[in-house]
């Protein structure tokens, strides 16, 4: 049974988690994502689906509670905003090192440091290049609407279990706080213990039957050669993810002279820029990465043979621009525009930046 509601991005994360059969949520309040924990607390899913909701004593505790749940093959989720995600980064590295599935939601805000509580996209490097230590990657999804906030929860869990890897939904205060129409899907039940043992019994801690050796979930290795071998295995996995899972949306790119690359709320703002440019007879397209890791390199590489330039629009001092330059092999000029620190750029500002970079130089 589908249902249309008007909801905030943060609220639908909670609704989606319950409806897709999430087993546990662990979090600690921080603006602009506190509605996730608040909504879950109001929904009281522990009385219906049996899902556990815990306000942990800190972000560090929350991510380690998730580690515990994930070790048992449970679908677990944490959420926070930028400074809180920084606290979770040690745990994210451990999850990646132990090859554990987990869904992490970052509704990011202005930084660095405690920064501001307004929207920002300055956590791109942290999300796609590391954050924690070691040779690892998160799979990073960038929703561009409230509906995608909803849809990506279920998609994120699927990817997390398919690749046994933590998945991050990288959103920001705009998408988290805004309300849009959302179509809610019919609720799915949580997995039973028997289902978990059957599907994930090869690695999860589900109780050792006599028929197999024990499963050990750990990220520690004392032998460097074995660690190196494991890192090669992880990298093979990331290669497969890059080959199969990169997603992007392209608007008006077929005959575009200039292409804006933007994700999340910046993509929404840039879509308006494409409309404004069309009114002036300019051929401007939009490439919206839906996955940030893996990055939609192939599409950008292909466009780089034909377009006159790229503009990377992000609410940061310029982070994703590095991946646009790499993917386009710097064949054409790549510029950056973005307000930062919690300031949201308007379509007019982005359009002016596009014109001053490409048309007045």
């Amino acid at each position: 049974m589908e249902e249309i509601r008007l909801m905030k991005g943060n609220e639908v994360i909670a609704e989606a988690a319950v409806r897709c059969g999430c087993d546990g949520y662990f979090g600690y309040p921080i603006t602009p994502q506190s509605e996730i924990l608040e909504t879950l607390t109001m929904m009281r899913p522990w009385e219906t689906t049996g899902m556990v909701v815990v306000q942990a004593e800190s972000e560090v505790a929350a991510i380690n509670m998730a580690y515990g749940g994930a070790s048992c093959g449970k679908r677990v989720m944490v959420s926070s905003s930028s400074p809180g995600i920084s606290l979770m980064c040690e745990g994210l590295s451990y999850l990646a090192g132990a090859e554990l599935p987990c869904l992490v939601v970052n509704v990011s805000r202005g930084g660095p440091g405690l920064g501001t509580i307004q929207p920002s996209q300055a956590d791109y490097f942290q999300a796609v290049k590391g954050g924690g230590h070691g040779d690892y990657h998160l799979i990073v999804l960038a929703p561009g609407s409230v509906q995608e906030m909803y849809d990506f929860v279920s998609w994120g869990f699927d990817l997390a279990f398919r690749y046994r890897n933590p998945v991050m939904i990288l959103s920001d205060g705009v998408i988290g706080q805004m309300m849009e129409k959302v179509v809610l899907s019919a609720p799915k039940p949580r997995w039973s213990d028997e289902q978990i043992a059957e599907m994930w019994g090869s690695w999860a801690v589900t109780g050792k039957p006599a028929s197999r050796t024990r499963n050990i979930v750990t990220s520690v290795e004392l032998d460097p050669l074995r660690q190196e071998r494991f890192n090669h295995k992880l990298t093979d996995k990331y290669r497969t993810i890059c080959e199969r899972e990169a997603r992007c949306e392209m608007v008006g790119c077929d005959d575009a002279d200039y292409v804006i690359v933007a994700y999340g709320s910046s993509a929404r703002i840039s879509q308006k820029v494409v409309e404004l440019a069309a009114e002036d007879g300019l051929k401007v397209g939009l490439l919206r990465p839906i996955t940030l890791y893996p990055f939609p390199e192939r599409e950008i590489e292909r466009l780089s043979h034909r377009v006159k330039g790229f503009l990377s629009v992000e609410m940061s001092m310029g982070q994703m621009i590095e991946d646009v330059k790499l993917a386009s092999r710097c064949r054409v000029p790549v510029y950056h525009f973005g307000r930062t620190g919690g300031v949201i750029h308007t379509p007019t500002e982005v359009y002016e930046a596009l014109k001053s970079n490409f048309l007045q130089k």
Partner: protein, 181 residues
Amino acid sequence: MKEEIIIAGFGGQGVLSMGKILAYSGVMQGQEVSWMPSYGPEMRGGTANVTVILSDERISSPIVQDYDTAIVLNQQSMDKFESRVKPGGVLIYDPNGIVRLPERKDIRIYEISATEEAARSGNIRVFNTMILGGYLKVCPVVSFENACLGLKKSLPERMASLIPANTAALQRGMEIIRQIS
């Protein structure tokens, strides 16, 4: 049809809920909608505002530079948003607390004494729906029936008893709004 509206005033005046009722009314009317609030320190006692967009088509940017309609409920919001109404657009204000009247000649300006009227009716809390009624009189972007449905949808069930007073306020707002220029 596409209508981009800013509603701005003090935190606590019901600015965000007015926007939510309007957005839900749009949903009831079968429109695409977005509701983008200011949040954070400003809503804890300072100014609060919300951008609502109603459209027949998919909405690209929820953030806009200029507005078809500005509803301003204090002087700070008047100072900030009068200049950001599109030429030919609409500015609606409640004279309570306004010390400098709007000066633009290229927009339609309306006044609605909702604070005074709501106080007279003995229920100041319906002030925001009265303003909304006034707005819908000037810009009938959604029908009165759908506005009533939007009102019902945006209130939690435990507050259902407030619906009749708010419906009456919507109606009253339509009656008392008057054009200044």
